[in-house]
């Protein structure tokens, strides 16, 4: 993708179409907005920040992108207290100590010994360093749930994302041969810093429309009958109107649909609804609300009327 589409109008449209159909082959149903953003990730070489509620396939974006580009996916799962030594690199101290002990009797000079224990052999490569060291092609670096880390780590990440090089005092500076494609995801449990957001392209993933969700169910569960799929999707869409404290995402729709298939249902009924309640709601209060509204939900999902 290195031609200049400004001179060839419509070429970019084709590229975006290619992303759309390529993702669909990988069973990821993207909309045009996401495909355009992905196109720009490749064109502008900027990281993309994907935000949205849980269970809407944010992480899948990176997986699909890696599969689409035929490149490696490197994942950094963020958590509270994540620090540089588990995200970037660390020396394998135990191995170094053993090596020093073994070398004690050898007649190498101190410099040689030092060079040996601080060589790549003793370096534990964590995800961020792996993404910089990639040898043959740009990998996809997924930084998952960035909102779980603290501000200090975010600032460090910002620095890394701007030049893709790492200084390891004992080894020198390592620059990325192939700049990775970076996908960050966030659940908005905390506002990210302005500087980081400004550096990224942004994509908000909302709950899908009925049509899109049907396509996702069909793509993911090809063995499912259309009638049941329609029921489940309409049911979950109606549940989202209830404003539960934990709204069911697409992941929940798929769980529910799979559960109904496993139960051998041909259509959604009161019994099936009760049995799969655990797929849809994840707390006692929410279950109670779904149960109270179950009559209406059943009518809405089997007849298509609200």
């Amino acid at each position: 993708m290195d031609h200049s589409p400004a001179n060839s109008p419509g070429a970019s449209g084709k590229d975006v179409d290619a992303i759309l159909s390529g993702f669909e082959r990988l069973h990821y149903i993207a909309d045009r907005s996401l495909a355009t953003a992905i196109y720009l990730v490749a064109k502008l070489r900027k990281p993309i920040l994907v935000e949205g509620h849980a269970g809407l396939g944010k992480t899948e974006v990176a997986k699909a992108l890696a599969a689409f580009l035929g490149t490696r996916l490197i994942r950094l799962q963020c958590y509270e207290g994540l620090d540089v030594s588990s995200a970037l690199y660390e020396w394998n101290y135990q191995k170094q100590l053993l090596a020093i002990k073994i070398q004690e009797q050898s007649n190498q000079t101190v410099e040689e010994k030092e060079r040996h224990v601080f060589s790549r052999e003793f370096l534990l490569e964590r995800p961020l360093l792996q993404s910089i060291l990639a040898e043959d092609a740009s990998p996809v670096l997924l930084i998952d749930e960035i909102d779980r880390t603290d501000e200090a780590f975010e600032a460090f990440l910002l620095e890394l994302l701007s030049d893709f090089q790492v200084s390891i005092p004992e080894l020198g500076t390592i620059s990325a041969k192939h700049v990775p494609f970076v996908v960050l995801t966030s659940n908005r449990s905390r506002e990210l810093g302005d500087a980081l957001k400004r550096r990224c392209l942004y994509q908000w993933i909302d709950y899908p429309s009925f049509e899109k969700e049907m396509r996702i169910v069909r793509a993911r569960l090809p063995g499912m009958e259309d009638e049941l799929a329609g029921h489940v999707v309409r049911y979950v869409q109606a549940v989202r109107q209830l404003r539960l404290s934990k709204q069911p995402g697409v992941a929940e729709t798929l769980d529910c649909a799979q559960a109904l298939m496993a139960l051998g249902k041909r259509r959604l009924d009161a019994e099936g609804l009760e049995e799969t309640l655990g797929c849809i709601s994840k707390s006692v209060e929410d279950s109670e609300r779904v149960r109270t509204a179950s009559g209406d939900l059943l009518i809405a999902s089997t007849t298509g009327r609200r």
């Binding site: 109008p9 720009l40 509270e80 400004r198 942004y202 994509q203």
Partner: protein, 376 residues
């Protein structure tokens, strides 16, 4: 869209970025450059693609994302659509609101005086003034001081939350070997590592539940305590916040709002129309009944900010507080009245509550709030 040559397109994109900036998007020159690059690679053959592309370049939050489509329509159709105008108005109103009377004055119930933050910080300058403000009782501050104090509070509380979030501390047992200190310590033994030094994860309660009293008697303090709540938000994995006077209102979601001034404005609306009178016991009962699962023993830190002037039954307060105490790791009661030289916690409610409180501390000025760090 009439742009035909690349130059026209570039001019139009720059114009659009400028337009969008005046109407609520935050991007600067960098965003404009990125928008130009995006437009250059997307071309103008498909307006839908251009729109999607510009949206992902220029937006950086859900709020901006929602705003974008209206702006795009408005700009490329040549006229300011009513929807865009409306949001502009809203924003202008919001800005003038912020400048004219910082949301703080509203929260504390004071009358808007037209003092801007700049004038405020000019009124008090230098370290000595800052020291004075740190120690000044919130209820004695005038409008000028309030504005300056808010600046200082934001700074200091921010620093506090950063300090608290450092996740490793030096330890004597277990945990990870602290190589740096180990090497240093063993120099005297010829570099042999005989004595290992360790560090461990700073243990911290991962959840915080805050109850903030906003009854009439607390009004001089409410605002700054709320700022305090906001600063703490960053330090804990999860903060559940509630306001109470005669009933309990959850404000967790409001606090998650984008920016502090917005949050304060929203909260001042929640709090508006609440009359005096404090029923701490009843509020705690609501908490125990409706929000019990937010209190998880072992990792919950419970904070009440109240003067303890209770108009409910002291027995109820004591019983409910005992129930809370059983469920949390530490129960802290902050009372602004504690700073009064002759204050004794003999108000019925307060004396009933005290046996169940782990830490009883003042909260009348900034310094007392900052001192809380050692209990967290």
């Amino acid at each position: 869209m009439t742009a035909e040559t690349p130059n026209d397109l570039a001019a139009a994109i720059v114009g659009f970025c400028r337009f969008a900036r005046t109407r609520g998007l935050s991007g600067g020159v960098q965003a404009t450059l990125a928008a130009l690059a995006a437009a250059a690679s997307l071309g103008i053959a498909r307006q839908e693609d251009l729109k999607c592309g510009l949206r992902s370049v220029l937006c950086s939050s859900k709020e901006e994302w929602d705003l974008f489509d209206g702006l795009f329509e408005a700009f490329w159709s040549g006229s300011d659509s009513p929807r865009a105008k409306q949001s502009t108005k809203r924003r202008e109103a919001a800005e003038s609101f912020e400048n004219r009377e910082n949301a703080g004055a509203l929260m504390s119930g004071a009358v808007a005086s037209g003092v801007s933050e700049d004038e405020g910080s000019q009124a008090v300058t230098g370290a000595s003034a800052r020291e004075r403000l740190r120690r000044a009782d919130f209820s004695t501050l005038n409008q000028d001081d309030l504005a300056a104090l808010e600046q200082i509070a934001l700074h200091l509380l921010g620093r506090m939350s950063r300090r608290l979030s450092r996740s490793w501390r030096i330890a004597n047992r277990r945990g990870k070997v602290d190589l740096r200190r180990t090497i240093r310590h063993n120099i005297s033994r010829g570099g042999e590592w005989i004595d290992l030094r360790y560090r461990e994860k700073r243990p911290r309660p991962s959840r915080l539940v805050i109850l903030l009293d906003i009854s009439g008697s607390m009004s001089p303090y409410s605002l700054l305590l709320l700022r305090f709540v906001y600063a703490l938000k960053k330090h804990f994995k999860r903060v559940d916040a509630f306001l109470f006077s005669t009933e309990l209102v959850e404000i967790t979601d409001t606090l998650r709002a984008l920016r502090l001034p917005d949050a304060l404005r929203a909260l001042s609306q929640v709090a508006a129309g609440w009359s005096g009178g404090t029923k701490i016991g009843a509020s705690l009962r609501d908490l125990n009944h409706l929000h019990a699962r937010k209190l998880r023993h072992g990792d919950t830190f419970f904070l009440i900010l109240s003067d303890g002037l209770d108009t409910g039954e002291p027995e109820e307060l004591a019983a409910e507080l005992r129930a809370v105490k059983r469920r949390v790791r530490k129960l802290v009661w902050l009372n602004p009245l504690l700073a009064l030289p002759n204050y004794q916690p003999i108000a019925q409610g307060m004396s009933a509550a005290l046996p169940h409180v782990d830490v009883f501390a003042p909260a009348h000025n900034l310094e007392s709030l900052l001192a809380l760090e050692k209990h967290l």
